[in-house]
Symmetry: C2
Subunit: 128 residues, 2 copies
DNA sequence: CGGTATCCCTGAGGATACTG
DNA sequence: CAGTATCCTCAGGGATACCG
């Protein structure tokens, strides 16, 4: 099994480095599309209902929200709970996997923040 | 300045969480497209010439390699060095920023690897 | 060797309207 | 309230050929 194998082996060249790429791609595929990060961040703050997410995340359409929530649910990062079937109340929240992913996102944010500071100083960039 | 401000403030709601998203997006934008990660990993192993990258990274076209290298160079993750102008020899390598980004990519890889193990056990997924 | 130029195609995502 | 359905646009990326 590749995931176990590459922990043990020495990297000889780029061909072997390729097995390093797949799990990173997995992460990017799971959070990289336009709305996934806003959804995860919103749910990281607290559980939300569909409409709440729609209002919080400016510009998202119900179509995209629905699709992205399904993706996230399929990937076990988000759980969907029908809390009151009579009133059609649905709540979305992070799974344990979703919560653990927040650590990685935090690492990305810290690097990204630091990067912005450095690059802005170097190049006289303006904040968007 | 936002990047300094949000380090100091408490998060009250999702609207403030949004400033958390931008630096993460920066990272995804810099490494998320199809070929950036393979290029960075190859260059993380050692400096490469244009043709070497073209051969190492299966399926990439010179057009895409050229474009992605320019992006990476623009973002200061990769440096281009003309090592021998007479023979038109060009070498690409990681900058210090590029090397520091590898730590983040490593965090993503570790999480992604762990995720695959868990999810595969749960769902009887097959490795692609 | 280290790239550009042209043309093309697919799929992510937007707009709008509608439903159980 | 919590979504679907339809239609449409545009940019990321592929194929191929060519250049200094």
């Amino acid at each position: 099994m590749v995931v176990e194998k590459f922990n043990k082996m020495a990297i000889k060249d780029y061909q072997e480095c390729k097995v390093y790429i797949r799990p990173v791609r997995d992460v990017i595929d799971m959070i990289g599309s336009k709305w996934k990060l806003p959804i995860l961040v919103a749910l990281g703050f607290k559980d939300h209902r569909f409409n709440e997410l729609e209002r919080q995340i400016q510009g998202i359409t119900p179509r995209m929200l629905s699709r992205e929530l399904k993706d996230l649910e399929f990937n076990k990062l988000v759980k969907r709970v029908v809390s009151c079937p009579d009133d059609n109340i649905v709540k979305y929240g992070l799974t344990e996997e979703g919560k653990s992913l927040e650590q990685v996102i935090t690492a990305m944010r810290i690097w990204g923040t630091d990067y912005r500071k450095k690059i802005m100083k170097k190049n006289d960039f303006e904040l968007r």
